[in-house]
């Protein structure tokens, strides 16, 4: 099928297939999946400038599907997501400006990508270590709860910080927390999203769990709610620059919608630590892709 906006001919079944794959990942882990969809779209011959924008557009639709399903399952903390989104939007703008400053200083790609690889590897190893620990705790102490954390000292400390204003987050089981750590999580993920052109879901989900102490299932649903807003904003800005082929995004989304439902429903059959353990492979995969880019010089993740 010809897509005249992007000026390419691509089999729509491949696009729907990519959508389905990242839809399952998104629904299950609460990530946008851009780091997988992007390289696949490039391999199909889609022009690089259309990859990021079109992927963001399909991500918006897919996250609506997954977020609504997670909401039906009681996995979204709307209040938490709404506060975090303020930090995310500011972070995206700051990230874009940070790039300009770094570009003026030179070697922007190497510095950013190396930082990103280190962050992803740390997240991956830490999440794997913690989930193993939590699963062992669950087994040895015969805990019948859905979620156990093998490392919760940090979030407990953070919840004790008394800088007003405070919010109560009953959907996340948090009695009282200052809004600043929540905004900080949004800001960090927004900054990375703006600087590296990634959705940031696979950084936000572990931050919500370990930093704020949000249960895994709620972290996934809330992350998706956040992606709807940030990807929607990204879609609009990229479309205004002429980087979105909406026909392509609509076709991808037909596969993604089904995948996102399957992924979201599947979370019901797994306990929190098991989801986090499988999740830990994703940041490592993202790190390997960026590392490969650094070595070969071929841009696959479409940072900027």
């Amino acid at each position: 099928m010809e897509f005249p906006i992007a000026g390419v001919t691509v089999n729509p079944l491949f696009l729907a297939g990519i959508g389905f794959l990242v839809g399952v990942l998104g629904g299950f882990f609460g990530v946008g999946g851009g780091f997988i969809a992007g390289p696949m779209m490039l391999l199909l011959g889609i022009p690089a400038n259309f990859v990021v924008g079109t992927d963001l557009a399909h991500m918006t639709g897919k996250s609506i599907v997954a977020a609504r399903r997670h909401r039906a399952l009681g996995h979204i903390d709307i209040k938490l997501g709404a506060i975090m989104v303020a930090g995310t939007l500011v972070g995206i703008e700051l990230g874009a400006r940070w790039i300009e400053v770094l570009e003026a200083a030179g070697k922007v790609d190497e510095v950013l990508k190396t930082t990103y690889v280190v962050i992803l590897i740390v997240i991956s190893l830490f999440t794997a270590w913690e989930s193993f620990r939590a699963l062992r705790m669950k087994r040895t102490e015969q805990l019948e709860v859905k979620d156990v954390l093998g490392f919760k000292g940090f979030s407990k400390q953070l919840q004790r910080i008394r800088i007003p204003p405070y919010v109560e987050l009953p959907d996340s089981g948090i009695e009282s927390i200052s809004i600043w750590p929540i905004i900080f999580v949004g800001l960090v993920t927004g900054l990375l999203a703006g600087a590296l052109g990634v959705g940031g879901g696979f950084i936000r989900m572990p931050l919500l769990v370990y930093f704020l102490g949000v249960p895994t299932h709620v972290a996934i649903g809330t992350d998706l709610f956040e992606i709807v807003i940030s990807a929607g904003y990204g879609t609009l800005t990229h479309a205004l620059k002429g980087n979105v082929d909406v026909m392509m995004a609509l076709v991808m989304h037909t596969g993604a919608a089904l995948g996102a439902q399957i992924g979201a429903v599947s979370t019901r059959f797994f306990v929190g630590p098991r989801i986090r353990l499988v999740f830990s492979a994703l940041p490592m995969l993202g790190a390997l892709l960026v590392l490969w880019e650094l070595v070969t010089g071929i841009n696959l993740t479409m940072g900027h």
């Binding site: 918006t60 639709g61 929607g232 609009l236 609509l250 037909t254």
Partner: protein, 89 residues
């Protein structure tokens, strides 16, 4: 894991897979119809909009993807409920 639990889990998984294939076939058919009767006709209109009115195109793109997101969510939710894919037994 006790043997009876393992057998129960295996049979639940088989039912889940069967339901998934049914959902995939029905959903695939409906999406095929949507593709040929709706998306094909949108193509020319959107291409013209992209070339002549980029700002309108940008907002139309966002609205379209949000609308399709809401529509397909309702469709897949309906199918999931009908086929009981989320029940697992």
């Amino acid at each position: 894991m006790p043997e009876h639990k393992a057998i129960k889990k295996e049979s639940s998984m088989k039912i889940w897979l069967r339901n998934f294939v049914i959902e995939l076939v029905i959903y695939g058919g409906l999406v095929f119809l949507y593709f040929y009767f709706v998306l094909q006709y949108l193509e020319r209109f959107l291409t013209t909009l992209f070339r002549e009115h980029l700002v309108v195109y940008a907002f139309a793109a966002l609205i379209l993807i949000v609308l399709q997101g809401a529509m397909l969510e309702s469709l897949t939710s309906f199918l999931l409920d009908q086929i009981k894919l989320d029940r697992f037994d």
